[in-house]
Amino acid sequence: MGKIADALAAIDKDSALSAVKDAIQRNEDPLGLIEELRLGLELVGDNFEKGKYFLFQLIMAGEIFKDASALIVPKIRERYGSVRKRGKFLIGTVAGDIHDLGKNIVATLLECAGFEVVDLGVDVPADVFVEKIKEHKPQIAGMSGLLTASIDQMEKTIEALEQAGLGEEVKVIVGGGIVGEKWVKGKIRADAATTSAVEGVKIAESYIRGR
């Protein structure tokens, strides 16, 4: 593991950015630098899942990744013309709910993992999910919510996708603290449900690999 991954894994922004700048100066392959950042972020995710790191460290790691990417991406464009994305993920907080903390963390981690993210924001009605999925054609849709009332809304949104004939087109992951509670399990017919942003990204990656 290189300096960049080490620094990111240690949540050391200054060292991470300095290592990235040095590598760019040495004209290293920018795709390799992004991969190293991803490796560092994976370690942060592992530490999060083991309980060594907390949400604060996870968010800060995502921010360091974004700052470092801002330095690297122009170099990728210079050398390769464009930045290839691994897949497209559409995400939003369902109607009636305006909490977006979890959604934003997932969106950041997905971007770090190489996904193109279409963020619909908060309080997104079912018909808007349908319309935007038709427009953007993502492989995966994520529905977020914190409130108990969000559970019914997630189910309604999934029904709307099915009625619009999108049930087979897009995988649906629901997320938020509420979806993991034992009294809620089985009430939403999503492809996956998770309370963890890190797990959500892993599920999304597995869907892309499985296609």
């Binding site: 922004k13 604060f56 800060m60 921010e63 409130l147 108990t148 509420i178 009294w183």
Partner: protein, 390 residues
């Protein structure tokens, strides 16, 4: 059945780590009082008489716990001087007309209301309070309207609840409400910015927290005085919310949240108030720090009202220091059955009630869409399983 203690005596015994006649029960009912009492959200925020009447009707449906939340969250929404602008920041100064409400109170969504800490410390909150982006209605209201909500309304509000307490002999859950500085910074900056601040300019975060503290506790104590602290049972309590942003590591909790959260509690207790630390999220990793909550304070002046925290562990670590309050899950109240609720409450009582110092309640609050019979089941469980002396 006539019980051996009054509701206030029962609650007081629990706060003082003594065994009451039975475990007190207090589902933390806010919006559900308006919903089950048949009034709109707007009426809840603007008509104290209707709110109190709705509370009476709702408690007949969902059960009569040992305290009542006077919903002081609604008290200062139209005032010129809400606490640190918190209400405007969290609600975008928008009162929703009716059920279902969008989001919850407070509604956490990412926004950045404060760009420059130094500017706010220099010039105060004027840019938040008179801000067309946050509250354009401030510019549409008449001067009479603003004066009414600033001066007359709080008196009407407090009087309505004073009469309720006298007539029904139910103490108030609180008289005032204040917000810990790190929570405020989350609302002002959004969590992503706050996380960056903690890592990139830690000393500035601490400085702003200190700066925010005095203003917030002064207004919380003022609110409790308006509500009748010292005269109306329960009004002497201040709900000290919300336990900080989610996902702090123990070192960040101890370094950034704890110092001003504890200092605020100390200031209020030393002024004669009681402090209900209404602290959300899972604070299990921070139980060792929480042991210091009563340090230097007389017994029975602070309570820990916990949301997702492991209550059994909390009892083990904190049971000899502070009264615990909580924490029937919101999802259980909406999606579970009466039997599920009863079993959950029985377990909580087994885990937490021994020796006193426990009040059976909900997580952060009872969801407005909870099944009435499930809320009632909490109260029934306290009577069925929570008797200390037969």
């Amino acid at each position: 059945m006539k019980e051996a203690m009054t509701r206030y005596e029962r609650i007081e015994a629990a706060w003082n780590l003594k065994e009451p006649d039975r475990v007190p029960s207090d589902p933390l009912n806010c919006y559900i009082l308006a919903y089950q009492g048949g009034i709109s959200i707007r009426e809840m925020f603007t008509d104290p008489k209707k709110l109190v009447e709705a509370t009476v009707r709702a408690r007949k449906k969902i059960g009569e716990g040992d305290q009542v939340d006077p919903n002081v969250t609604t008290l200062d929404h139209f005032s010129l001087w809400p606490k640190s602008g918190w209400d405007r920041v969290t609600l975008h100064w928008k009162i929703q007309e009716d059920f279902p409400p969008k989001g919850n109170i407070p509604s956490f969504f990412e926004k950045c209301m404060i760009e420059d800490y130094d500017d706010v410390m220099e010039r105060g909150f004027s840019t938040l309070l008179f801000n067309k982006k946050i509250g354009k209605d401030m510019f549409e209201r008449s001067i009479d309207d603003i004066l009414y909500y600033a001066f007359e309304y709080p008196k009407i509000y407090a009087e309505a609840w004073r009469k309720y307490v006298e007539e029904y002999q139910v103490p108030l859950l609180m008289g005032g409400r204040g917000c810990t500085p790190l929570d405020l910074l989350q609302y002002y900056r959004g969590i992503t910015n706050l996380v960056r601040d903690v890592f990139e300019r830690p000393e500035k975060v601490k400085e702003v927290c200190e700066w925010l503290l005095d203003y917030e506790v002064i207004l919380a104590m003022r609110e409790a005085m308006i509500m009748g602290a010292g005269e109306v049972p329960g009004a002497e309590k201040i709900l000290w919310v919300n336990g900080g942003p989610p996902g702090m590591s123990p070192d960040i909790f101890e370094e950034f949240f704890w110092p001003t959260a504890k200092k605020g509690a100390d200031i209020m207790v030393k002024r004669g108030f009681k402090v209900d630390c209404h602290w959300d999220n899972d604070l299990t990793p921070h139980l060792d720090t929480l042991k210091g909550i009563t340090k230097g304070l007389p017994k029975g002046k602070v309570m820990l009202d916990l949301e997702k925290t492991d209550m059994k562990k909390a009892k083990e670590v904190l049971g000899d220091k502070v009264c615990l309050y909580g924490n029937v899950p919101s999802s259980l109240l909406v999606y579970g059955t009466v039997k599920d609720v009863e079993e959950h409450c029985k377990k909580l009582i087994e885990d937490c009630a021994e020796g006193g110092g426990f009040i059976l309640s909900t997580e952060c609050e009872t969801p407005w869409n909870a099944k009435p019979e499930n809320v009632r089941a909490i109260i029934d469980a306290a009577i069925k399983y929570g008797q200390y002396r037969r």
